[in-house]
Symmetry: C2
Subunit: 104 residues, 2 copies
């Protein structure tokens, strides 16, 4: 069963600077993580009532086991990606990990 690591980014003070750093620096760093099964990004739009989304970006990384995720995140590529958060994610992140249950 796959394990996912979901990173929810709070809305940044400067969205354009965040997006540039994410696309040019952070996503390439994260894409180098060993054992990565998949890595997707969503930039949520406004709600049906036009309200700003609660998170600016959702990144979802999957690995084929908890051990594979831990080895990846604990290695040099994991440290590089985690250390990079300080360069653009000052508004804060929420990180959630767990088994992925496929319903459909």
């Amino acid at each position: 069963m796959s394990i996912s690591l979901t990173v929810l980014y709070n809305p940044p003070a400067d969205a354009a600077a965040f997006d540039k750093h994410y696309d040019e620096v952070h996503a390439p760093l994260a894409a180098k993580l060993p054992n990565l099964e998949s890595f997707t990004i969503v930039r949520p739009g406004p709600g049906p009532d036009g309200s700003a989304p609660q998170y600016h970006l959702i990144a979802t990384l999957t690995f084929d086991s908890a051990e594979a995720m831990q080895a990846s995140m604990g290695g040099p590529e994991g440290k590089a990606a985690t250390d990079d958060l300080a360069n653009f994610a000052q508004a804060g992140v929420t990180i959630l990990t767990g088994e992925v249950q496929q319903v459909v």
Copy 2:
């Protein structure tokens, strides 16, 4: 490009009752949504420091276009799934939608 609908459930007062309702009633209702491309569930574990996760459950539904999602959520199955939130998600939900960008 796929569109995802992510539902983040706040920690419920009674996790066992939430989980039972989710698995036996809500997930089957959501699985009936027309145009559904995929539907996955993650129940996040505690953080590396043992702290409780910020969300009890993450549901991710994908559709092949924004129009397909809107038609699905606006139809009777979408209404049934949305109406059912009142039966178990009293602690609150955050719903986010956006295009899915596949990096890896």
